[in-house]
Symmetry: C5
Subunit: 262 residues, 5 copies
Amino acid sequence: MSSSIIGIFFGAVLMFISIFNQGGIKIFLNLDALMITLGGTIAATFISYPLPRVIKVFTVIKNIFKSEKNEYNRYIAIIIALALKARQNSILSLENDLRKIKNRIIKVGLQMVIDGSPPDIIRDVLETEIDYMRIRHSEGEQIFRTMGKFSPAFGMIGTLIGLIAMLRSMADIGATAESMGPAMAVALVTTFYGAMLTNLIFYPIAEKLKSMTDSEMLLNAILIEGILLIQQGLNPRIVEKKLNAYLPPHLRKGHMSTRGVR
Amino acid sequence: MSSSIIGIFFGAVLMFISIFNQGGIKIFLNLDALMITLGGTIAATFISYPLPRVIKVFTVIKNIFKSEKNEYNRYIAIIIALALKARQNSILSLENDLRKIKNRIIKVGLQMVIDGSPPDIIRDVLETEIDYMRIRHSEGEQIFRTMGKFSPAFGMIGTLIGLIAMLRSMADIGATAESMGPAMAVALVTTFYGAMLTNLIFYPIAEKLKSMTDSEMLLNAILIEGILLIQQGLNPRIVEKKLNAYLPPHLRKGHMSTRGVR
Amino acid sequence: MSSSIIGIFFGAVLMFISIFNQGGIKIFLNLDALMITLGGTIAATFISYPLPRVIKVFTVIKNIFKSEKNEYNRYIAIIIALALKARQNSILSLENDLRKIKNRIIKVGLQMVIDGSPPDIIRDVLETEIDYMRIRHSEGEQIFRTMGKFSPAFGMIGTLIGLIAMLRSMADIGATAESMGPAMAVALVTTFYGAMLTNLIFYPIAEKLKSMTDSEMLLNAILIEGILLIQQGLNPRIVEKKLNAYLPPHLRKGHMSTRGVR
Amino acid sequence: MSSSIIGIFFGAVLMFISIFNQGGIKIFLNLDALMITLGGTIAATFISYPLPRVIKVFTVIKNIFKSEKNEYNRYIAIIIALALKARQNSILSLENDLRKIKNRIIKVGLQMVIDGSPPDIIRDVLETEIDYMRIRHSEGEQIFRTMGKFSPAFGMIGTLIGLIAMLRSMADIGATAESMGPAMAVALVTTFYGAMLTNLIFYPIAEKLKSMTDSEMLLNAILIEGILLIQQGLNPRIVEKKLNAYLPPHLRKGHMSTRGVR
Amino acid sequence: MSSSIIGIFFGAVLMFISIFNQGGIKIFLNLDALMITLGGTIAATFISYPLPRVIKVFTVIKNIFKSEKNEYNRYIAIIIALALKARQNSILSLENDLRKIKNRIIKVGLQMVIDGSPPDIIRDVLETEIDYMRIRHSEGEQIFRTMGKFSPAFGMIGTLIGLIAMLRSMADIGATAESMGPAMAVALVTTFYGAMLTNLIFYPIAEKLKSMTDSEMLLNAILIEGILLIQQGLNPRIVEKKLNAYLPPHLRKGHMSTRGVR
């Protein structure tokens, strides 16, 4: 189960208990306040980004709840197996494996290796591929970060509107603590919403997207290195050593029967 | 329709409803408050930047409301067609196409290719061209970001002026909640204006200009790469593969009848 | 006329009107408040930077009020004329032009060209020259940015001093709104000064210095490129094309009778 | 003893005295307040990062309390001894030393030297190794920095909840200073907790992890340089000079009987 | 005299006058407040950094009060003299000068030149030397910047403690402005201390250390360039031109009887 689900559940329970302990959930539920805080944030986000990019964000959110799997070793094993086969038979013998592989980087790279493209063109194409993949993936993160900046601002704008209206009405209806208190309470609810949205939703999602992109980029770096090593026809042991260097020591596996340190 | 129009319309309606629900639009309309917040921001912007650059900004704003079109594939198709023609006939045969092309980068680049300039000079000229294009385009973004910083500051300055005047007058006219409330309300309107200008106008426009520049720079990167590939006389299939690598997978089209992955 | 003068004039008028509308300029003039805000800022700036650098800043300020001239084309024309002459006669024939040129980069560079220094040494010397010129020019900007950070801080410190003294005196003289209001008003004036100094003076000047340095560095990049092209004895048409690439399209001029796009 | 232990002890005593002097520790102990501040921070952190990474953080904390040892010279001495032996006998003679060495970088590097791998592959593998080691180590720092940002935010959220509930209740139970004061005090305790957690725990730990990573990376830079120098078979005196250049002058030792400056 | 001494003196006098004008220095002297603000800052700093690094900072502070001397020209003259001697006699003739030179970079570099080390090893050793010198020097700056961040935070924590205690006591002793005012005043003194420490001490010292490191690094860049030029045996006139390029025009001196621009 993804840690994000645990976190969201845990955070929601916590807030619920805190609010409940303070004697009433009713005052914290306010549609007007939600409209100005979340609505304002969404409006500002629409002005800030092209439409397709904003829409794509909602399709990205679901990835956050996927359980994190560690696939580095699975892919390193695939690369080493391919390197071994390419060395024993020939690079052309990898053509059959191509159909079984789903990962885009290995697929594109391996086909170019089989087609006999020169290494610098392969590296060029693959690095362009992951450079722009990184840019696209960081766009989602960037939108959530922007929403995380707008959200407390619109929370404050909502509170200002309530505050100004309340202060204005003082001349007419007088200012007793009994009348001002609840009006002030309502005004502050938008600030509360803004702070909650940013700190329990927008920023954590932005951070999560960032760390997901980082993991993916590490995998891609391993794959590009691996494909070029296959083409060079290097000893699979050196391939393993070079690819293992990307991983933390406790994740490294001896895919081959090597002697010495991994 | 541009998402910016949707966002601005949606944001304006939202603010109007919120303010209306609070019982009165009148107190939120205040010419003095607008003068100090917007006027102060514009004055500070004039001190900060040379005159022509500030003026140019107003011509840039209208681009924000243009609908975003995705033209990558149109240009990749043009490049591939040119590459094919250059390979089948000769590079000189591209001279006629030159007149029909409007894009500056292709035009400048292609003419240098036809003139027989060496590749490193072509790359040099085109990269200088887009480096400084990026700098010029980011100037507009930068000005809006600066306005987004000045605007809440002048909102706060306006509130301070109102607050100081109100506190001052207490000694003379006494301090009843009935008299202080409305004065305080008026003072807070400038803070409200500052927050609105920044979060619904200045920052979103700056973000939009940034993402427009990013799209343009991606297109330019594709075009430079494409022109140099035309000159090298590479196989149009490799041209397509190298240019497609810049795009997200769902946008990639098979311009040629390729086998395998795109 | 420089836009900075317009901005400062406009900003001052605006503040004056706002304050006047609030019913009195007298309370906003307070020598003690100015002393602590501006004095504190200057003291902190003196601790932060070596003496000669702080003093130099005052000589830099006057440049801000100079009208911005666009000299790129004038210098490109000079470079092209020199390139033409060097090609038709010889590089040594440029010796006479050397005396008429005032710009330091052209002067230093051209003399090295005439002396027959190798291109990499010329590039080295000129790039060191402009690298450190950029560092020196950005020092002025940096000092104003630092002052822009200290100024609201000392405004707040002044308000804290006033506030503490006022709260302290409550035990002795009682706390009526009539006595606390004006004391509070005086305390807030330092915050007002701090915000004004930063947003109408320190930050705008820092921004202006930055954009002046940027313009100068663009000119220097053009000049270095130009001098090395003169030495290479390239076709003046290519010289023009390479130098024009640095400029926005609307500023490019056809210094030579070129065909095609500029 | 680690300076971190001194700092935490000193900080705790200080806070205790300050609170005690203010007349009572009881009001500052509040389980609800701790739950919302620390609980909210942890919930947001769980959403932000994959589960294994959050868990790993707790295993990292204990390193902070280890006493800092300066091991640069010990490792430089080892490198020089190996360089000497490799020069007098042969590189293969280092095989026996390999078993005694525990440091991962030396072990991996030396074995590749003995295996006769070319220098650029050794440098590649070792630099990949420390690049990704740096990334992994900075993840811990990054999590604490994120917690340091969430913690005051949830402190403020807790205060907002308390404030809104208090203001709300005014209409029912009236608003006397006697009833509002303590309620307000309780509401502020969460802000206090948020500020304490960030400034005495989260940020200092993040800084400490950063400076620990910096020290480790300096050592790694020395070791990679050293292993490549052993392979080159350079004069141990030059080895010493090159490695000493990484250290501050007062830490440099003459491992060999050198003449002149170290 | 150093500008830092002027600044500190000027700042102290200013604060004294301001406080005195407000009618009493006594309330601003508060040992408890100093303990929590400065003590908390120091405690957090101890947790953040290894012990030796914190201690070293105190030895660094005294450098801030040293008068700034401009030694660029003195060192350029030395380099040119050495270059002349090396050209007229031989590089070995510099052995005698070695003893008289105190600057570490010249000493280490020159000895390697005399020993006949290849230029790339000399550049390597010297650049490693100054890279890590820069890192070590920036550590002091970094510690003061961290203290500048902690200091207002602990000021705020102190105020929160005072505020909570005061609000708590309202239920028991009642809340009259006469009793609350002074208690509030005492609570605010810690915020005042935090703001003063940061803006008159920690940040200015950090800035000063930064500009001192910048000057030193400029000198080191000149020295490395100079030593390599001596080894190349270049014409001292070119040596002078290349080294002068690092300096602002008004500091450049004609160490040799050169014609033309400097």
